[in-house]
Symmetry: C2
DNA sequence: ATCAGTTTTAACCATTTGGTTAAACTAAAT
DNA sequence: ATTTAGTTTAACCAAATGGTTAAAACTGAT
């Protein structure tokens, strides 16, 4: 998190502020203060708030997507894919717990935002995954399952607890540390739960 | 959605705008326009933007919570509870698909918001539910399961698809109507998935 | 018809906010 | 030493925005 050049300092500060407050709620002054620079310098490096937001957003998404979908491009057995993805994704989100809400709310505001820059089918070959599922089902190891049911269910189980972090923490009276433990426990319980749900 | 008195018109308009843009993104002028009234009239009825937001937010939450948690106060068999809650909750969220993101992002901004006004343990008696789970497990109908694992998993499966609606719609190329069908199919697949995951 | 209370409006205000400008500083290249 | 390019700042600006005010219009009771 240390400062290198000014551009980096700005990006890091912007990320922090945008993650917490979103595009509309963020103030250029706050970002400048957090980066320890003058507000005009923001506009020198990134012409507008919108542009700074996009850079910061893009940066995060580019970090995120390979970790979410990368494992789908390997030829690991299905259960391995599931366990790897779960652990990697939960680790990543633990670093940026506010990311899901920020992404979801900005996409609600501007649905184009995400898809102008990246192509999800490019990242996950749904058909390949479906083929693997069909094979597993054929072999009697899991019950028949559609990717379009499986993927939303899996992402739900992985992402939602972060989106609902304040609610969970309050309802269960967890400190930040305890919340991390809660998430950590899910690296096992979620794949277990999931594999059980897939049993024939 | 029809106008009764001005106060109602304002609340309805405010709800629409806040749902779409959140507190920071909403403009008083836009709310006034949508309600077909003058901006000053907003301030006559609701002193400030913050207060209008709270009223609108409160209103929605009060509608939502009984539907989410109400069934936990009945003495239905566990699987019945699960299926009832799923159907009711999915129906409710279908009416307000943007609600989850709005709630989650405003709570991230101000974690107090939700809990100042309502007490979740008052709505769900976790211990009662745990007892029921223990009984089901004892009888060999499900495997042992903690409420604190079950509830987050269930809410994840129910809420997340709405939060990710634009992503799902784009990735799967669904119209609004097809998205509703997708959600509707989950009234069966989610409880099925869930009950299967709970099998001993 | 009039009066009191409520509702509605147009005009206005102060502050905030994103963004600009022009000048000063720095360090490397010539 | 001077030029040049990049970096940083203080001071400003125009527009947007939440909020106020005072007066007009409406309503229902007397």
């Amino acid at each position: 998190m240390e400062a290198e050049n000014t551009e980096q300092k700005i990006l890091i500060a912007a990320r922090q502020v945008f993650l917490k407050k979103g595009l509309a709620g963020a103030r250029m002054q706050e970002i400048a203060d957090m980066a320890g620079i003058n507000k005009a310098l923001l506009h020198y490096y990134y012409r507008s708030k919108e542009q700074l937001f996009r850079s910061s957003f893009q940066d995060l998404i580019k970090q995120m997507l390979p970790k979410v979908f990368g494992v789908f491009r390997t030829d690991l057995p299905f259960e391995e894919k599931l366990r790897t993805l779960t652990a990697d994704y939960l680790d990543f989100l633990t670093e940026y717990p506010q990311l899901p809400v920020m992404i979801l709310s900005e996409i609600q505001r501007d649905p184009q935002l995400l898809f102008n820059e990246l192509n999800i089918p490019d990242l996950v070959d749904f058909q390949d995954l479906q083929k693997q599922l069909d094979e597993e089902a054929e072999a009697g190891r899991i019950r028949p399952m559609q990717v379009f049911e499986l993927i939303p269910n899996l992402l739900s189980l992985l992402v939602f607890p972060f989106a609902a972090k304040p609610i969970i923490q309050n309802a269960l009276k967890l400190t930040d540390e305890q919340f991390k433990d809660f998430i950590s426990s899910r690296k096992l319980t979620v794949p277990d739960f999931f594999m059980n749900a897939l049993k024939p």
